[in-house]
């Protein structure tokens, strides 16, 4: 890749020199344009080449693998057409994992958006030390996933966890939080812990809401809730849409179930509690614990297409709901 970059860079300067000499008198504008075009491709080529080699090529390779029985070791693999896809459709493990992933996405995404937006509204009020509150509430979103996983494993440990300690004080029995069926709630709480992320982004949006609108609403006697619902939310809707889409994509591919399980290595994937055994974990297990590259690639492509469809649907259904403030005068 570096070689390509250097050679194209030299190509750019060569033509630049050539264009300077004879063309200066005749048609300087056109050669300027050609120069700009060459330069455009020279500057964007690292991304274009990288995208082709590190995104398109692997996905194409996976598509090809999904029609085979390749396992990475055995030389006796063969082309099996749609067999992997047929097996996938009749595999109850796949369907269960998909259902859990869907349920996780439609609970975690709205909850963290509501939570993040709520926090943003709170710390947007004129308060003492609101900068400090913002920083502290955002801090968990900066904690790397491994740190979050270990912290929550400690917090929800059956014996030494603070949650069971608290339950004990109030006279309840200890729960096996990290096992079935409760592990899914711990997963949900880890995600909500990072809601500071959405808080910061919503806060930027809140500060863009024109003051006059709020004042006008107040003069008209609108209640705080009404103002929030009819002014703040519509003006924030592009931000919320963006959060919904990125949230769904992030929740589908979260590796947190693995980090919350007892053994977070490749071999441990199969030991993840059932209630946290999501689709992505199933793909991971089929690739690296079981070694069925062909079948795993079929699973991977199905998920990829489902995410594209889900993203498309979110955009389509939001087109009537999301309000884009296009009047530059109104934006203060």
């Amino acid at each position: 890749m570096t070689v390509g970059q250097i050679s194209s860079a030299q190509g750019g300067t060569d033509t630049a020199k050539a264009a300077d000499r004879p063309a200066a008198a005749n048609r300087p504008r056109i050669s300027m344009n050609a120069r700009r075009q060459r330069a455009f491709y020279m500057f964007t080529s690292p991304w274009i080449i990288g995208f082709l080699l590190l995104t398109i090529a692997p996905m194409a390779y996976a598509l090809w693998l999904s029609f085979t029985t390749f396992d990475g070791i055995s030389p006796h693999w063969r082309y099996v057409g749609l067999d992997n896809y047929r097996e996938l459709l009749s595999d109850s493990v796949t369907w269960d994992a998909l259902g859990r992933t869907g349920l996780f996405a439609i609970t975690s995404v709205p909850l963290s958006i509501i939570g993040g937006l709520g926090l943003a509204v709170l710390v947007n009020r004129p308060l003492k030390a609101r900068g400090l509150f913002r920083t502290l509430l955002y801090l968990p979103a900066v904690v790397p996933p491994v740190g979050a996983g270990i912290a929550f494993k400690q917090l929800f440990d059956t014996n030494s966890g603070a949650t069971n300690g608290a339950l004990n004080i109030f006279g309840f029995d200890a729960l096996g939080w990290l096992a079935d069926p409760y592990a899914r709630y711990v997963l949900l709480m880890v995600v909500l812990w990072g809601a500071g992320n959405i808080m910061i982004i919503s806060l930027a949006g809140l500060q863009d809401v024109p003051r006059e609108l709020h004042e006008a609403a107040r003069i008209d006697g609108a209640s705080a809730w009404r103002t929030f619902r009819s002014i703040t939310v519509p003006l924030l809707s592009p931000v919320l849409l963006f959060q919904t889409v990125t949230g769904v994509i992030a929740s589908v591919q979260t590796i947190m179930p693995l980090l919350l399980s007892a053994d977070a290595t490749t071999a441990g994937v199969t030991a993840i509690p059932q209630s946290n055994y999501q689709y992505m974990m199933h793909v991971f297990a089929q690739y690296f614990a079981v070694g069925r590259y062909g079948y795993a690639s079929a699973l991977l492509w199905v998920l990829f297409v489902l995410i594209l469809v889900a993203t498309g649907l979110i955009f389509r259904f939001s087109s009537g709901v999301v309000f884009y403030n296009v009047d530059p005068e109104a934006k203060k």
Binding site: I48, V123, L127, V142, V143, P144, T158, W193, L300
Partner: protein
Amino acid sequence: MTVTSLPPKSAARVRVRVNRLVLYTVLVAVTGLFLGPFGWLVLAGLKSPEELAASPVHWLPDTIQWHNFADAFHLIDFLGYARNSLVIALIYATLVTLSSAWVGFGFARLNAPGKKILFGILLGSMMLPQLITLFPTYLIFAKLGMVDTYWPWVLWGLSAAPYLVFLFRQFFAGLPRELEEAAIIDGAGYIQIFWRIFLPQSWPVLSASFIIAFTWTWGDYIAPQLLLSTDHSTLAVAVMTTYVNGAGAPVANLQAAASVMYVVPILLIFLVAQRGFVAGMSTSGLK
């Protein structure tokens, strides 16, 4: 605040006071809840193994076991893993920041047929699930013999990150046209214009991009777990998987201490460079 303009009625003033008290109580409670998990992690790192295994829970350590941090340092080659993490994160953050600035300049200041489509693909690829492409990419890297080397991070770094390209593009597009026009009249090429004029202007974005890329790589678990053998792996993988005693049982208090030491550098970077961090974050929401 909204009531100050009204005539000073004592009932209204009391209501404002009460509202304010409720607001602060809620905020303090929520903030406590948010800091709780990390606080508990620190506490776990300061307990003895017996205290950590006690049931019901032993809330506070009887004597604070500071030596856990030193023990966590020595049970595994903590410094070696930290160095691996640092090297990979520096390689990736440096390369991806420069390449993203380079590509971002192209999208912001140059034009050619196909630019609109390419930019559309760039924005779309921001939404591509990275874990999905990582698995088959791993298979290809394995075929090319790049497993257990840092080459994958070099290649990822050279090929720019869509999100960072977008940050640079927004910044460069906002600079005045005269900047490059004068340079072009002087006969400067675009590489010179980029390197001498635009790049030095973009310190805020450069540092934001570097910090974002650095924390991504420091926090990444799956890529190093797949691509590197345990000895050459990063601190994230080591903290998660290598804290076991001779019998293979996890050493939870040392693991907790180690994960505090793993997380704190990132928290410090965030606290020091908060502005750039937040600016980078919120730009993503505005588009």
